[in-house]
């Protein structure tokens, strides 16, 4: 019984960790895209 409870807690923790890492990966990727957008804008003002 306590083994089951322990196992379900471990699974839940692993799930939560995956969620957090998943969100971090997605937000980081989007952040990089936005940064690239900013650098492209700067590129068009080079030499002005």
């Amino acid at each position: 019984m306590s083994n089951d409870r322990e196992q379900s807690r471990t699974t839940r923790r692993a799930g939560l960790r995956n969620d957090v890492l998943g969100i971090t990966t997605e937000v980081a990727w989007t952040g990089i895209l936005i940064l690239v957008g900013y650098f492209v804008s700067r590129l068009f003002f080079l030499g002005r």
Binding site: D19, E26, L33, I34, G37, R42
Partner: protein
């Protein structure tokens, strides 16, 4: 040959449409509670009446056509297309009762725009509508992004035999997990977790910007729902300009992009396959087309000297471009600025971005990155075949969750849907031109409606011709459901009439 339509077909379609309608009625409880929180008694009564009417229609429909049979693919397609029309009309009742819609057609335009996550609106005096109605507008977008059928599957229908077909009918044809109800639950889990994060972050930024805490979190929720569902609505007519906040615009950009991702990609990344974000054909395609169309936008804006520095160019140009490409439609410039300042090339860049759109099985619209990737890979494979020795077998591949072999059938299906999108874009533009609107404006607006984006260059107004309103409603509906379920509905109606005629002749 089209199969005959039987009474049982009507029962199955009626029963499931009834259940989905009940779901819409229950959803109206959220804006009613919002109205009560803000002590907007008239608005609360409007929603109370609308709930009674919607639940009544839903219960009667489900009761009259009660059946234990599960829907087949044809039923599922008809239910998906038909229930969106029923939901459009019944969801328009609170708009009409509020007095902010000039007619039922205008109200239906707004609700279809909401459900399809388009964002065009005809509502009058938007700046003074009740918080309840504001919540309803944004909730329509949020639910429409995930799908009305997905909502019904999660809470009302469960895992019946034809459940997955219902989801396919609504354009959510990704099997994340074997159990259909679990797919719906996963889609909602991802959306609700982001809702909490988005509302929190945007709410805090609104407080920092000087808004009262209670109102700030409501606005945070509205802007999140609008961005994540690639909807484009905002509580005020000035849209994102109202907040004068670069941090809010940046956070909104993040959620627009996240909302434009395929739910299968979210699921893969969230379950440990994090490298998928670097290899997925839709993400590769999206990155290339975003950077290409943004370069074109910059070129247009630099030619005309619209913005004085890189920060201004990024803040307006990149925001608008991402808003167009993710088919969100949020705006931080005035509608006529596109025509007055951005010029033909700038508008063309945005029109191309809107036409391409977001990912398949996402909250967004347009051709979809998947189809662009498949068609591009198909062209490359054909060129490789031509350059290879005659005996060589050249096989193309594309990566979406796993490596997939590119077949002629896959390329053909993708090309057919793209052609259908182009067709509705052109039809909408031609109708606009027939009423005397300039070509660039009417193409921009038609693509915006058909790709479910919602950016406007000023054509969409309550005073525009009735036929144009109807054409845009049909464009939004077809574009969101990706044609097949709508064509099946038309075919089903035609087959029903033919059946009736045959019965009369026999009688």
């Amino acid at each position: 040959m089209v199969r005959r339509v039987w009474k049982e077909d009507f029962r199955i379609i009626g029963y499931y449409t009834g259940l989905i309608t009940i779901g819409v009625g229950l959803l109206m409880l959220v804006p009613m509670v919002t109205s009560l929180v803000f002590r907007e008694w008239e608005s609360a009564v409007d929603f109370g009446l609308s709930i009674v009417l919607t639940l009544l229609v839903g219960y009667v429909l489900a009761l009259v056509s009660r059946t234990k049979n599960t829907p087949g693919l044809t039923h599922a397609m008809v239910i998906a297309a038909g229930s969106w029309l029923v939901a459009m009309v019944l969801s328009a009742v609170p708009y009409v009762l509020s007095g902010h819609a000039l007619s039922l057609l205008d109200a239906c335009f707004d609700t279809m725009s909401g459900y399809t996550t388009t964002g065009l609106f005809l509502l009058q005096d938007l700046d003074h509508i009740s918080q309840g109605l504001n919540m309803w507008r944004h909730l329509l977008t949020y639910v429409g992004g995930q799908g009305i059928v997905v909502l019904a599957l999660t809470f009302l229908i469960g895992s019946t035999g034809g459940a997955y077909k219902l989801m396919v009918g609504e354009g959510k044809d990704e099997k994340l997990v074997p159990n259909v109800r679990h797919i719906a639950v996963q889609i909602w889990r991802i959306s609700l977790i982001y809702l909490l994060i988005g509302t929190g972050v945007l709410g805090i930024l609104a407080i920092v910007g000087g808004m009262k805490p209670q109102l700030a979190f409501f606005h945070g929720a509205y802007i999140f729902m609008s961005a994540w569902s690639t909807g484009g609505f905002a509580p005020y007519s000035q849209n994102m300009q109202y907040y004068h906040s670069l941090p809010m615009e940046t956070v909104s950009m993040v959620f627009m992009v996240l909302g434009s991702f395929n739910f299968a990609l979210h699921y893969a990344v969230w379950t440990g396959n994090r490298r998928e974000i670097l290899h997925n054909v839709e993400i590769v395609s999206f990155t290339i087309t975003v950077l290409t169309t943004f370069s074109l936008t910059c070129l247009a804006l630099m030619q005309r000297g619209v913005y004085p520095n890189a920060v201004a160019l990024f803040r307006r140009g990149f925001f608008q471009l991402l808003s167009a490409h993710t088919t969100t439609g949020q705006s931080n410039i005035y509608a006529r600025t596109f025509v007055r300042d951005w010029g033909s090339l700038g508008m063309l860049a945005l029109t191309i971005a809107m036409a391409i759109g977001a990912s398949a099985a996402s909250t967004g619209g347009g051709f979809k990155g998947m189809r662009m990737g498949i068609i591009f890979k198909g062209i490359v494979t054909d060129i490789r075949k031509l350059l290879s020795p005659e005996r060589a077998i050249v096989v193309g591949h594309y990566h979406h969750i796993r490596d997939n072999t590119l077949t002629d059938g896959t390329v053909k299906s993708a090309a057919v849907i793209v052609v259908l999108y182009v067709l509705i874009y052109v039809v909408g533009a031609v109708v606009g031109m027939a009423y005397g609107y300039p070509m660039a404006d009417t193409f921009f607006e038609s693509v915006s409606a058909g790709s479910n984006t919602g950016l406007s260059c000023g054509v969409t107004q309550a005073t525009m011709p009735t036929l144009l309103k109807i054409v845009y409603i049909v464009e939004m509906w077809m574009g969101r459901l990706e044609f097949l379920s709508v064509f099946t509905l038309f075919g089903f109606i035609a087959a029903s009439f033919r059946g009736l005629k045959r019965q009369k002749v026999a009688g």
